[in-house]
Protein backbone atom coordinates (compact mmCIF):
# COMPACT_ATOMS: atom_id res chain seq x y z
CA UNK A 1 0.00 0.00 0.00
CA UNK A 2 2.89 2.34 0.85
CA UNK A 3 6.22 1.90 -0.93
CA UNK A 4 9.13 4.02 0.25
CA UNK A 5 12.20 3.51 -1.92
CA UNK A 6 15.65 4.96 -1.22
CA UNK A 7 14.29 8.13 0.33
CA UNK A 8 16.77 10.73 1.52
CA UNK A 9 16.06 14.17 2.91
CA UNK A 10 18.72 16.71 3.80
CA UNK A 11 18.41 20.00 5.67
CA UNK A 12 21.59 21.77 4.63
CA UNK A 13 24.43 19.50 5.74
CA UNK A 14 22.25 17.54 8.13
CA UNK A 15 20.78 14.35 6.69
CA UNK A 16 17.43 13.86 8.43
CA UNK A 17 16.46 10.73 6.50
CA UNK A 18 19.12 8.63 4.76
CA UNK A 19 18.33 6.07 2.05
CA UNK A 20 15.24 4.64 3.74
CA UNK A 21 13.29 1.91 1.96
CA UNK A 22 10.21 0.36 3.50
CA UNK A 23 7.16 -1.36 2.11
CA UNK A 24 3.86 -1.58 3.95
CA UNK A 25 1.22 -4.04 2.79
CA UNK A 26 -2.51 -3.17 2.69
CA UNK A 27 -4.06 -3.58 6.12
CA UNK A 28 -0.69 -3.70 7.84
CA UNK A 29 0.16 -1.58 10.84
CA UNK A 30 3.74 -0.31 11.07
CA UNK A 31 5.29 1.82 13.81
CA UNK A 32 8.21 4.17 13.18
CA UNK A 33 10.31 3.94 16.32
CA UNK A 34 13.25 6.06 17.33
CA UNK A 35 14.38 8.80 19.68
CA UNK A 36 13.75 12.50 18.98
CA UNK A 37 15.64 13.54 15.87
CA UNK A 38 15.72 10.01 14.44
CA UNK A 39 13.80 11.14 11.34
CA UNK A 40 10.31 9.76 12.10
CA UNK A 41 8.43 13.01 11.52
CA UNK A 42 10.54 13.91 8.48
CA UNK A 43 9.77 10.55 6.89
CA UNK A 44 6.05 11.02 7.57
CA UNK A 45 6.18 14.48 6.00
CA UNK A 46 7.88 12.97 2.96
CA UNK A 47 5.10 10.36 2.70
CA UNK A 48 2.53 13.17 2.78
CA UNK A 49 4.45 15.14 0.14
CA UNK A 50 4.85 18.08 2.52
CA UNK A 51 8.59 18.22 2.01
CA UNK A 52 10.67 17.28 -0.99
CA UNK A 53 12.99 14.32 -0.82
CA UNK A 54 15.04 12.21 -3.16
CA UNK A 55 13.94 8.67 -3.87
CA UNK A 56 10.42 7.48 -4.55
CA UNK A 57 7.29 7.21 -2.43
CA UNK A 58 4.08 5.66 -3.71
CA UNK A 59 0.71 5.21 -2.06
CA UNK A 60 -1.32 2.50 -3.79
CA UNK A 61 0.80 3.03 -6.90
CA UNK A 62 0.38 6.82 -6.91
CA UNK A 63 3.60 8.78 -6.75
CA UNK A 64 3.49 11.29 -3.91
CA UNK A 65 5.58 13.72 -5.96
CA UNK A 66 3.82 13.48 -9.32
CA UNK A 67 0.28 12.64 -8.18
CA UNK A 68 0.36 14.10 -4.70
CA UNK A 69 -3.29 15.08 -4.62
CA UNK A 70 -4.45 11.61 -5.68
CA UNK A 71 -2.07 9.97 -3.20
CA UNK A 72 -3.21 12.18 -0.31
CA UNK A 73 -6.84 11.37 -1.09
CA UNK A 74 -6.03 7.88 0.17
CA UNK A 75 -4.47 9.10 3.41
CA UNK A 76 -6.01 10.30 6.64
CA UNK A 77 -3.41 12.26 8.61
CA UNK A 78 -3.30 13.14 12.30
CA UNK A 79 -0.43 15.47 13.30
CA UNK A 80 1.33 15.66 16.64
CA UNK A 81 -0.52 18.81 17.60
CA UNK A 82 -3.32 20.41 15.72
CA UNK A 83 -3.02 24.13 14.95
CA UNK A 84 -6.59 24.68 13.86
CA UNK A 85 -8.25 27.94 12.98
CA UNK A 86 -9.38 28.74 16.51
CA UNK A 87 -12.49 30.65 15.52
CA UNK A 88 -13.76 27.82 13.34
CA UNK A 89 -16.71 25.85 14.73
CA UNK A 90 -16.18 22.12 15.23
CA UNK A 91 -18.94 21.12 12.79
CA UNK A 92 -17.75 23.80 10.40
CA UNK A 93 -14.24 22.31 10.48
CA UNK A 94 -15.63 18.88 9.66
CA UNK A 95 -17.59 20.28 6.71
CA UNK A 96 -14.60 22.29 5.44
CA UNK A 97 -12.22 19.33 5.40
CA UNK A 98 -14.92 17.08 3.97
CA UNK A 99 -15.27 19.48 1.03
CA UNK A 100 -11.48 19.56 0.60
CA UNK A 101 -11.65 15.78 0.31
CA UNK A 102 -14.45 16.06 -2.24
CA UNK A 103 -17.15 14.72 0.09
CA UNK A 104 -20.55 16.35 0.01
CA UNK A 105 -22.94 14.32 2.11
CA UNK A 106 -21.21 14.44 5.48
CA UNK A 107 -23.10 14.61 8.76
CA UNK A 108 -20.80 16.28 11.30
CA UNK A 109 -22.83 14.98 14.27
CA UNK A 110 -22.39 11.39 13.12
CA UNK A 111 -18.67 11.88 12.45
CA UNK A 112 -18.12 13.46 15.87
CA UNK A 113 -20.02 10.68 17.60
CA UNK A 114 -17.69 8.09 16.04
CA UNK A 115 -14.70 9.59 17.90
CA UNK A 116 -16.49 10.30 21.17
CA UNK A 117 -17.13 14.00 20.53
CA UNK A 118 -20.91 13.82 20.37
CA UNK A 119 -22.49 17.11 21.48
CA UNK A 120 -19.39 19.21 20.82
CA UNK A 121 -20.34 20.24 17.27
CA UNK A 122 -21.54 23.71 18.22
CA UNK A 123 -18.33 24.64 20.07
CA UNK A 124 -15.44 26.63 18.65
CA UNK A 125 -12.25 24.64 18.10
CA UNK A 126 -10.43 26.78 20.68
CA UNK A 127 -12.89 25.61 23.33
CA UNK A 128 -11.76 21.98 22.96
CA UNK A 129 -9.10 20.41 25.18
CA UNK A 130 -5.90 18.97 23.69
CA UNK A 131 -7.34 15.46 23.71
CA UNK A 132 -10.56 16.62 22.08
CA UNK A 133 -8.62 18.42 19.36
CA UNK A 134 -6.74 15.21 18.62
CA UNK A 135 -10.07 13.38 18.41
CA UNK A 136 -11.31 16.05 16.01
CA UNK A 137 -8.17 15.58 13.92
CA UNK A 138 -8.83 11.84 13.91
CA UNK A 139 -12.44 12.44 12.86
CA UNK A 140 -11.19 14.60 9.98
CA UNK A 141 -8.59 12.00 9.05
CA UNK A 142 -11.31 9.35 8.86
CA UNK A 143 -13.58 11.41 6.59
CA UNK A 144 -14.19 9.50 3.37
CA UNK A 145 -12.91 6.29 4.99
CA UNK A 146 -9.33 6.49 3.63
CA UNK A 147 -7.50 3.17 3.29
CA UNK A 148 -4.36 4.60 4.95
CA UNK A 149 -3.97 6.35 8.31
CA UNK A 150 -0.76 8.25 9.04
CA UNK A 151 -0.23 9.39 12.63
CA UNK A 152 2.67 11.48 13.86
CA UNK A 153 3.20 11.02 17.61
CA UNK A 154 -0.45 11.78 18.13
CA UNK A 155 -0.43 11.23 21.86
CA UNK A 156 2.71 13.28 22.59
CA UNK A 157 0.76 16.31 23.78
CA UNK A 158 -1.85 14.38 25.78
CA UNK A 159 -1.93 13.55 29.47
CA UNK A 160 -1.87 9.92 30.62
CA UNK A 161 -5.63 9.48 30.69
CA UNK A 162 -6.10 11.17 27.30
CA UNK A 163 -3.31 9.07 25.88
CA UNK A 164 -4.88 5.82 27.04
CA UNK A 165 -8.29 6.78 25.67
CA UNK A 166 -6.83 7.87 22.33
CA UNK A 167 -4.85 4.65 21.91
CA UNK A 168 -7.97 2.61 22.67
CA UNK A 169 -9.80 4.62 19.98
CA UNK A 170 -7.02 3.89 17.49
CA UNK A 171 -6.97 0.23 18.46
CA UNK A 172 -10.53 -0.05 17.24
CA UNK A 173 -9.56 1.50 13.92
CA UNK A 174 -6.40 -0.46 13.17
CA UNK A 175 -8.33 -3.50 12.01
CA UNK A 176 -10.84 -3.51 9.18
CA UNK A 177 -8.19 -3.62 6.45
CA UNK A 178 -6.91 -0.10 7.09
CA UNK A 179 -3.18 0.47 6.68
CA UNK A 180 -1.58 2.27 9.59
CA UNK A 181 1.77 4.07 9.65
CA UNK A 182 2.55 5.86 12.88
CA UNK A 183 5.47 7.40 14.69
CA UNK A 184 5.84 6.77 18.40
CA UNK A 185 8.38 6.31 21.10
CA UNK A 186 5.99 4.72 23.58
CA UNK A 187 6.25 0.97 23.87
CA UNK A 188 2.66 0.59 25.07
CA UNK A 189 1.34 2.30 21.92
CA UNK A 190 3.56 0.28 19.65
CA UNK A 191 2.60 -2.98 21.34
CA UNK A 192 -1.09 -2.15 21.11
CA UNK A 193 -1.22 -0.88 17.53
CA UNK A 194 1.70 -2.18 15.46
CA UNK A 195 2.35 -5.45 13.72
CA UNK A 196 5.87 -4.44 12.61
CA UNK A 197 8.26 -1.83 13.94
CA UNK A 198 10.66 0.13 11.72
CA UNK A 199 13.50 1.40 13.89
CA UNK A 200 15.11 4.68 12.80
CA UNK A 201 18.48 5.77 14.17
CA UNK A 202 20.00 9.08 13.06
CA UNK A 203 17.92 9.05 9.89
CA UNK A 204 18.77 5.49 8.90
CA UNK A 205 16.37 2.57 8.97
CA UNK A 206 18.40 0.24 11.19
CA UNK A 207 15.97 -2.68 11.30
CA UNK A 208 12.37 -3.76 10.71
CA UNK A 209 11.05 -6.30 13.22
CA UNK A 210 7.84 -7.91 14.31
CA UNK A 211 6.45 -6.22 17.37
CA UNK A 212 7.27 -9.20 19.63
CA UNK A 213 10.89 -9.36 18.42
CA UNK A 214 11.19 -5.64 18.89
CA UNK A 215 9.92 -5.80 22.48
CA UNK A 216 12.31 -8.69 23.16
CA UNK A 217 15.17 -6.62 21.83
CA UNK A 218 14.26 -3.88 24.28
CA UNK A 219 14.00 -6.36 27.12
CA UNK A 220 10.35 -5.45 27.56
CA UNK A 221 8.47 -8.31 26.00
CA UNK A 222 5.59 -8.14 28.47
CA UNK A 223 3.24 -5.39 29.56
CA UNK A 224 1.89 -5.42 33.10
CA UNK A 225 -1.43 -3.61 33.39
CA UNK A 226 -1.93 -2.83 37.07
CA UNK A 227 -5.31 -1.56 38.29
CA UNK A 228 -5.17 0.54 41.46
CA UNK A 229 -6.95 3.45 43.20
CA UNK A 230 -6.44 6.88 41.61
CA UNK A 231 -4.86 8.28 44.77
CA UNK A 232 -1.85 5.93 44.67
CA UNK A 233 -1.13 5.84 40.93
CA UNK A 234 1.34 8.72 40.87
CA UNK A 235 3.24 7.20 43.85
CA UNK A 236 3.31 3.83 42.09
CA UNK A 237 4.76 5.30 38.89
CA UNK A 238 7.34 7.20 40.93
CA UNK A 239 8.40 4.10 42.88
CA UNK A 240 8.79 1.98 39.74
CA UNK A 241 10.65 4.65 37.79
CA UNK A 242 13.06 5.08 40.68
CA UNK A 243 14.31 1.53 40.06
CA UNK A 244 14.31 1.72 36.26
CA UNK A 245 10.86 0.49 35.22
CA UNK A 246 9.39 2.96 32.65
CA UNK A 247 5.88 2.88 34.13
CA UNK A 248 3.13 5.01 32.59
CA UNK A 249 -0.31 6.04 33.75
CA UNK A 250 -3.25 4.83 31.72
CA UNK A 251 -7.00 5.13 32.06
CA UNK A 252 -7.52 2.67 34.95
CA UNK A 253 -4.10 2.33 36.58
CA UNK A 254 -0.56 2.00 35.31
CA UNK A 255 1.23 0.10 32.56
CA UNK A 256 4.71 -1.34 33.13
CA UNK A 257 6.81 -2.81 30.29
CA UNK A 258 8.91 -5.66 31.74
CA UNK A 259 11.07 -8.51 30.47
CA UNK A 260 9.75 -12.08 30.71
CA UNK A 261 11.94 -12.92 33.71
CA UNK A 262 11.11 -9.83 35.79
CA UNK A 263 7.31 -9.90 35.88
CA UNK A 264 7.20 -10.24 39.69
CA UNK A 265 9.58 -7.39 40.46
CA UNK A 266 7.05 -4.54 40.09
CA UNK A 267 4.69 -6.30 42.52
CA UNK A 268 7.46 -6.51 45.15
CA UNK A 269 8.42 -2.88 44.64
CA UNK A 270 4.82 -1.70 44.96
CA UNK A 271 4.24 -3.88 48.04
CA UNK A 272 7.32 -2.27 49.65
CA UNK A 273 5.91 1.15 48.76
CA UNK A 274 2.54 0.12 50.30
CA UNK A 275 0.69 0.61 47.02
CA UNK A 276 -2.47 -1.54 46.89
CA UNK A 277 -3.15 -3.36 43.59
CA UNK A 278 -6.81 -4.15 42.84
CA UNK A 279 -6.25 -6.22 39.71
CA UNK A 280 -3.63 -6.99 37.08
CA UNK A 281 -3.23 -8.27 33.55
CA UNK A 282 -0.11 -9.62 31.82
CA UNK A 283 -0.10 -8.98 28.08
CA UNK A 284 2.71 -10.32 25.86
CA UNK A 285 3.86 -7.45 23.60
CA UNK A 286 3.01 -7.96 19.93
CA UNK A 287 0.43 -10.62 20.74
CA UNK A 288 -2.37 -8.29 21.65
CA UNK A 289 -4.45 -9.26 18.63
CA UNK A 290 -7.70 -11.13 19.22
CA UNK A 291 -7.04 -14.65 20.35
CA UNK A 292 -3.80 -13.90 22.15
CA UNK A 293 -3.40 -15.40 25.58
CA UNK A 294 -3.71 -13.01 28.50
CA UNK A 295 -2.91 -13.99 32.05
CA UNK A 296 -5.15 -12.42 34.59
CA UNK A 297 -5.29 -12.54 38.32
CA UNK A 298 -5.68 -10.59 41.47
CA UNK A 299 -3.16 -9.49 44.00
CA UNK A 300 -3.81 -8.30 47.46
Amino acid sequence: MIAITHVTRRFGRHVAVRDVSLSIAPGESVALWGPNGAGKTTLIRCVLGLIRCSGRIEVAGRSVRRRGKAARRLIGYVPQELGFYDELGVSEAIRYFARLKGLRAVRPAQVLESVGLAGHGAKRVRELSGGMKQRLALAIALLGDPPVLVLDEVTASLDAVGRGEFVRLLEGLSGAGRTLLFASHRIEEVSTLARRVAVLEKGRLSRVQTCADFADSLGRSTMLHLVMPVAVRARAVESLRAVGFPAQLNGVGIVVPVSQDRKAAPFRILADARVPIDDFEIVPVGKAEPGAAHHQGEAR
Binding site: G61, Y77, P79, L100, K101, G102
Partner: protein
Protein backbone atom coordinates in the same frame (compact mmCIF):
# COMPACT_ATOMS: atom_id res chain seq x y z
CA UNK B 1 19.78 -0.97 5.58
CA UNK B 2 16.78 -1.38 3.39
CA UNK B 3 13.69 -3.42 3.95
CA UNK B 4 11.73 -3.97 0.82
CA UNK B 5 9.81 -7.14 1.43
CA UNK B 6 7.82 -9.16 -0.84
CA UNK B 7 5.47 -8.07 -3.44
CA UNK B 8 2.88 -5.48 -2.65
CA UNK B 9 -0.62 -6.67 -3.33
CA UNK B 10 -2.17 -4.71 -6.14
CA UNK B 11 -4.86 -2.27 -5.10
CA UNK B 12 -7.82 -1.90 -7.37
CA UNK B 13 -7.77 1.70 -8.62
CA UNK B 14 -11.50 1.81 -9.25
CA UNK B 15 -12.25 1.07 -5.60
CA UNK B 16 -10.24 4.02 -4.33
CA UNK B 17 -11.73 7.49 -3.91
CA UNK B 18 -10.94 10.20 -6.49
CA UNK B 19 -9.66 13.60 -5.36
CA UNK B 20 -11.87 16.66 -5.90
CA UNK B 21 -11.33 18.86 -8.98
CA UNK B 22 -9.35 22.11 -9.16
CA UNK B 23 -12.41 24.37 -9.17
CA UNK B 24 -14.03 22.53 -6.28
CA UNK B 25 -10.88 22.74 -4.11
CA UNK B 26 -10.28 26.39 -5.01
CA UNK B 27 -13.85 27.40 -4.23
CA UNK B 28 -13.80 25.50 -0.93
CA UNK B 29 -10.74 27.46 0.21
CA UNK B 30 -12.18 30.71 -1.21
CA UNK B 31 -15.47 30.34 0.67
CA UNK B 32 -13.65 29.84 3.96
CA UNK B 33 -11.33 32.79 3.34
CA UNK B 34 -14.29 35.02 2.51
CA UNK B 35 -16.19 33.91 5.60
CA UNK B 36 -13.15 34.45 7.83
CA UNK B 37 -12.43 37.88 6.31
CA UNK B 38 -16.03 39.04 6.79
CA UNK B 39 -15.84 37.95 10.45
CA UNK B 40 -12.48 39.60 11.02
CA UNK B 41 -12.30 42.76 13.15
CA UNK B 42 -9.60 44.19 10.88
CA UNK B 43 -11.79 43.85 7.83
CA UNK B 44 -14.70 45.56 9.59
CA UNK B 45 -12.40 48.32 10.83
CA UNK B 46 -10.96 48.99 7.37
CA UNK B 47 -14.40 48.93 5.76
CA UNK B 48 -15.89 51.28 8.34
CA UNK B 49 -12.89 53.62 8.05
CA UNK B 50 -13.07 53.56 4.25
CA UNK B 51 -16.82 54.22 4.22
CA UNK B 52 -16.58 56.94 6.90
CA UNK B 53 -13.74 58.76 5.17
CA UNK B 54 -15.51 58.38 1.81
CA UNK B 55 -18.63 59.91 3.30
CA UNK B 56 -16.55 62.74 4.74
CA UNK B 57 -14.95 63.41 1.36
CA UNK B 58 -18.37 63.34 -0.32
CA UNK B 59 -19.90 65.78 2.20
CA UNK B 60 -16.99 68.20 2.02
CA UNK B 61 -16.74 68.16 -1.75
CA UNK B 62 -20.52 68.34 -2.15
CA UNK B 63 -20.54 71.48 -0.01
CA UNK B 64 -17.97 73.14 -2.26
CA UNK B 65 -18.77 71.97 -5.80
CA UNK B 66 -22.19 73.43 -6.19
CA UNK B 67 -23.45 70.53 -8.20
CA UNK B 68 -20.46 69.45 -10.21
CA UNK B 69 -20.47 66.04 -8.52
CA UNK B 70 -18.98 63.21 -10.52
CA UNK B 71 -20.00 64.46 -13.92
CA UNK B 72 -16.46 65.55 -14.57
CA UNK B 73 -13.22 65.79 -12.71
CA UNK B 74 -14.65 67.26 -9.56
CA UNK B 75 -13.43 67.53 -6.04
CA UNK B 76 -15.35 64.39 -5.13
CA UNK B 77 -13.53 62.24 -7.67
CA UNK B 78 -10.16 63.66 -6.69
CA UNK B 79 -10.90 63.11 -3.02
CA UNK B 80 -12.13 59.56 -3.56
CA UNK B 81 -9.13 58.67 -5.74
CA UNK B 82 -6.76 59.83 -3.02
CA UNK B 83 -8.77 58.00 -0.39
CA UNK B 84 -8.67 54.78 -2.44
CA UNK B 85 -4.92 55.21 -2.95
CA UNK B 86 -4.40 55.37 0.79
CA UNK B 87 -6.86 52.87 2.20
CA UNK B 88 -7.46 50.13 -0.41
CA UNK B 89 -3.81 49.09 -0.99
CA UNK B 90 -3.16 49.01 2.76
CA UNK B 91 -6.22 46.85 3.28
CA UNK B 92 -5.29 44.47 0.44
CA UNK B 93 -1.59 44.25 1.28
CA UNK B 94 -2.19 43.47 4.95
CA UNK B 95 -4.96 40.94 4.19
CA UNK B 96 -2.72 39.07 1.75
CA UNK B 97 0.38 39.28 3.95
CA UNK B 98 -1.34 37.90 7.04
CA UNK B 99 -3.03 35.09 5.17
CA UNK B 100 -0.42 32.41 4.36
CA UNK B 101 2.17 33.37 6.98
CA UNK B 102 -0.29 33.04 9.86
CA UNK B 103 -1.43 29.65 8.54
CA UNK B 104 2.21 28.55 8.36
CA UNK B 105 2.93 29.89 11.84
CA UNK B 106 0.22 27.82 13.52
CA UNK B 107 0.88 24.68 11.46
CA UNK B 108 -2.36 24.98 9.55
CA UNK B 109 -0.72 25.33 6.13
CA UNK B 110 1.06 21.99 6.49
CA UNK B 111 -2.13 20.38 7.82
CA UNK B 112 -4.23 21.65 4.91
CA UNK B 113 -1.54 20.62 2.41
CA UNK B 114 -1.64 17.11 3.90
CA UNK B 115 -5.19 16.92 2.52
CA UNK B 116 -5.94 16.16 -1.15
CA UNK B 117 -5.37 19.74 -2.30
CA UNK B 118 -2.57 21.37 -4.32
CA UNK B 119 -0.53 24.41 -3.31
CA UNK B 120 -1.89 26.35 -6.28
CA UNK B 121 -5.46 25.60 -5.32
CA UNK B 122 -4.88 26.98 -1.82
CA UNK B 123 -3.22 30.10 -3.20
CA UNK B 124 -5.95 30.70 -5.78
CA UNK B 125 -8.62 30.02 -3.16
CA UNK B 126 -7.10 32.60 -0.86
CA UNK B 127 -6.81 35.08 -3.73
CA UNK B 128 -10.43 34.61 -4.79
CA UNK B 129 -11.80 34.64 -1.23
CA UNK B 130 -9.84 37.68 -0.07
CA UNK B 131 -10.51 39.39 -3.43
CA UNK B 132 -14.24 38.90 -2.87
CA UNK B 133 -13.97 40.39 0.62
CA UNK B 134 -12.13 43.42 -0.81
CA UNK B 135 -14.84 43.79 -3.44
CA UNK B 136 -17.43 43.80 -0.66
CA UNK B 137 -15.48 46.44 1.24
CA UNK B 138 -15.01 48.70 -1.80
CA UNK B 139 -18.65 48.31 -2.80
CA UNK B 140 -19.80 49.23 0.71
CA UNK B 141 -17.47 52.24 0.91
CA UNK B 142 -18.11 53.69 -2.52
CA UNK B 143 -21.80 52.70 -2.39
CA UNK B 144 -22.23 54.78 0.77
CA UNK B 145 -20.56 57.74 -1.00
CA UNK B 146 -22.83 57.38 -4.03
CA UNK B 147 -25.89 57.37 -1.76
CA UNK B 148 -24.75 60.54 0.00
CA UNK B 149 -24.07 62.29 -3.29
CA UNK B 150 -27.49 61.29 -4.61
CA UNK B 151 -29.14 62.40 -1.35
CA UNK B 152 -27.40 65.79 -1.59
CA UNK B 153 -28.91 66.11 -5.05
CA UNK B 154 -25.63 66.09 -6.93
CA UNK B 155 -25.61 65.11 -10.55
CA UNK B 156 -23.69 61.85 -10.49
CA UNK B 157 -22.93 59.43 -13.27
CA UNK B 158 -23.27 55.81 -12.14
CA UNK B 159 -20.82 54.79 -14.86
CA UNK B 160 -18.09 57.00 -13.35
CA UNK B 161 -18.64 55.51 -9.93
CA UNK B 162 -18.61 51.99 -11.36
CA UNK B 163 -15.35 52.73 -13.22
CA UNK B 164 -13.81 54.03 -10.03
CA UNK B 165 -14.98 50.97 -8.09
CA UNK B 166 -13.71 48.65 -10.84
CA UNK B 167 -10.29 50.33 -10.94
CA UNK B 168 -10.10 50.27 -7.14
CA UNK B 169 -10.81 46.53 -7.25
CA UNK B 170 -8.06 45.93 -9.84
CA UNK B 171 -5.64 47.93 -7.69
CA UNK B 172 -6.76 45.95 -4.64
CA UNK B 173 -6.20 42.64 -6.45
CA UNK B 174 -2.70 43.75 -7.47
CA UNK B 175 -1.84 44.68 -3.89
CA UNK B 176 -3.44 41.45 -2.65
CA UNK B 177 -1.10 39.50 -4.96
CA UNK B 178 1.89 41.42 -3.58
CA UNK B 179 0.66 40.70 -0.05
CA UNK B 180 0.34 36.98 -0.83
CA UNK B 181 3.87 36.98 -2.28
CA UNK B 182 5.21 38.57 0.92
CA UNK B 183 3.22 36.07 2.95
CA UNK B 184 4.55 33.09 1.02
CA UNK B 185 8.11 34.23 1.74
CA UNK B 186 7.71 35.12 5.43
CA UNK B 187 7.85 32.60 8.27
CA UNK B 188 5.95 34.78 10.75
CA UNK B 189 2.74 36.72 10.26
CA UNK B 190 4.12 39.75 12.13
CA UNK B 191 7.10 39.95 9.75
CA UNK B 192 4.81 39.60 6.74
CA UNK B 193 2.43 42.36 7.87
CA UNK B 194 5.36 44.62 8.80
CA UNK B 195 6.87 44.12 5.35
CA UNK B 196 3.50 44.79 3.73
CA UNK B 197 3.19 48.12 5.56
CA UNK B 198 6.72 49.03 4.46
CA UNK B 199 5.82 48.22 0.82
CA UNK B 200 2.65 50.33 1.14
CA UNK B 201 4.62 53.30 2.52
CA UNK B 202 7.14 52.93 -0.28
CA UNK B 203 4.54 52.81 -3.03
CA UNK B 204 2.36 55.59 -1.61
CA UNK B 205 4.94 58.11 -0.44
CA UNK B 206 8.55 57.19 -1.06
CA UNK B 207 8.34 56.22 -4.74
CA UNK B 208 6.76 59.58 -5.69
CA UNK B 209 9.50 61.48 -3.91
CA UNK B 210 12.18 59.20 -5.37
CA UNK B 211 10.79 59.71 -8.86
CA UNK B 212 10.82 63.48 -8.46
CA UNK B 213 14.31 63.45 -7.02
CA UNK B 214 15.52 61.09 -9.72
CA UNK B 215 14.01 63.22 -12.45
CA UNK B 216 15.93 66.26 -11.22
CA UNK B 217 19.18 64.54 -10.29
CA UNK B 218 19.45 62.29 -13.34
CA UNK B 219 17.81 64.74 -15.75
CA UNK B 220 15.37 62.07 -16.88
CA UNK B 221 13.58 62.59 -20.17
CA UNK B 222 9.82 62.86 -20.05
CA UNK B 223 9.24 59.43 -21.66
CA UNK B 224 11.62 57.86 -19.13
CA UNK B 225 9.72 59.54 -16.32
CA UNK B 226 6.42 58.17 -17.65
CA UNK B 227 7.89 54.68 -18.13
CA UNK B 228 9.18 54.70 -14.54
CA UNK B 229 5.81 55.84 -13.19
CA UNK B 230 4.23 52.75 -14.80
CA UNK B 231 6.20 50.59 -12.35
CA UNK B 232 4.17 52.01 -9.48
CA UNK B 233 0.63 50.58 -9.45
CA UNK B 234 -0.60 53.57 -7.43
CA UNK B 235 0.54 55.96 -10.16
CA UNK B 236 -1.05 53.78 -12.81
CA UNK B 237 -4.32 53.71 -10.87
CA UNK B 238 -4.22 57.48 -10.39
CA UNK B 239 -3.59 58.19 -14.07
CA UNK B 240 -6.10 55.61 -15.26
CA UNK B 241 -8.90 56.74 -12.96
CA UNK B 242 -8.42 60.39 -13.99
CA UNK B 243 -8.24 59.40 -17.63
CA UNK B 244 -11.40 57.30 -17.25
CA UNK B 245 -13.19 60.24 -15.62
CA UNK B 246 -12.47 62.28 -18.76
CA UNK B 247 -10.31 64.60 -16.73
CA UNK B 248 -7.24 66.26 -18.11
CA UNK B 249 -4.07 64.55 -16.97
CA UNK B 250 -2.22 67.86 -16.85
CA UNK B 251 -2.91 67.94 -13.11
CA UNK B 252 -0.40 65.11 -12.81
CA UNK B 253 2.35 66.96 -14.60
CA UNK B 254 4.24 66.75 -17.88
CA UNK B 255 4.76 62.99 -17.87
CA UNK B 256 1.00 62.38 -17.88
CA UNK B 257 0.54 64.99 -20.63
CA UNK B 258 3.21 63.20 -22.64
CA UNK B 259 1.29 59.94 -22.12
CA UNK B 260 -1.93 61.41 -23.54
CA UNK B 261 -0.17 62.91 -26.56
CA UNK B 262 1.97 59.87 -27.26
CA UNK B 263 -0.42 57.00 -26.53
CA UNK B 264 -3.87 58.64 -26.81
CA UNK B 265 -6.57 56.00 -27.02
CA UNK B 266 -4.12 53.19 -26.23
CA UNK B 267 -3.74 54.47 -22.68
CA UNK B 268 -6.58 52.31 -21.34
CA UNK B 269 -4.88 49.18 -22.69
CA UNK B 270 -1.48 50.31 -21.40
CA UNK B 271 -2.75 51.05 -17.90
CA UNK B 272 -4.80 47.85 -17.95
CA UNK B 273 -1.77 45.78 -18.93
CA UNK B 274 0.33 47.38 -16.16
CA UNK B 275 -2.22 46.65 -13.43
CA UNK B 276 -2.85 43.15 -14.83
CA UNK B 277 0.89 42.51 -14.57
CA UNK B 278 0.79 43.69 -10.95
CA UNK B 279 -1.97 41.13 -10.31
CA UNK B 280 -0.51 38.18 -12.19
CA UNK B 281 3.26 38.41 -11.68
CA UNK B 282 3.31 38.53 -7.85
CA UNK B 283 0.62 35.83 -7.74
CA UNK B 284 2.70 33.61 -10.01
CA UNK B 285 5.81 34.23 -7.94
CA UNK B 286 3.87 33.49 -4.75
CA UNK B 287 2.76 30.17 -6.26
CA UNK B 288 6.36 29.28 -7.14
CA UNK B 289 7.61 30.22 -3.67
CA UNK B 290 4.86 28.22 -1.97
CA UNK B 291 5.42 25.11 -4.06
CA UNK B 292 9.20 25.21 -3.55
CA UNK B 293 9.31 26.08 0.13
CA UNK B 294 8.35 23.80 2.96
CA UNK B 295 4.92 24.65 4.42
CA UNK B 296 6.38 24.20 7.89
Amino acid sequence: MTALPASMPAVASAALPRPPGVISSTLTVARRELRDALRSRWFLLYTIAFAALGLGVSFVSAAGTGGTGLSGFGRTTAGLINLILLVVPLMALSAGAASIASDRERGMLAYVLAQPVRTWEILLGKFVGLGASLLASITLGLGACALVLAWKGLRTQPASMLWLAGLALVLALGMLSVGLLISSLARRASVAVGTAIFVWLTLVFVSDLALMAGAVALRLRIEQLFALSLFNPMQVFKMWSLHAADASLDVLGPAALYAVEEHGSRLHALFGACLAAWVLLPLGLAGLCLSRRSPL
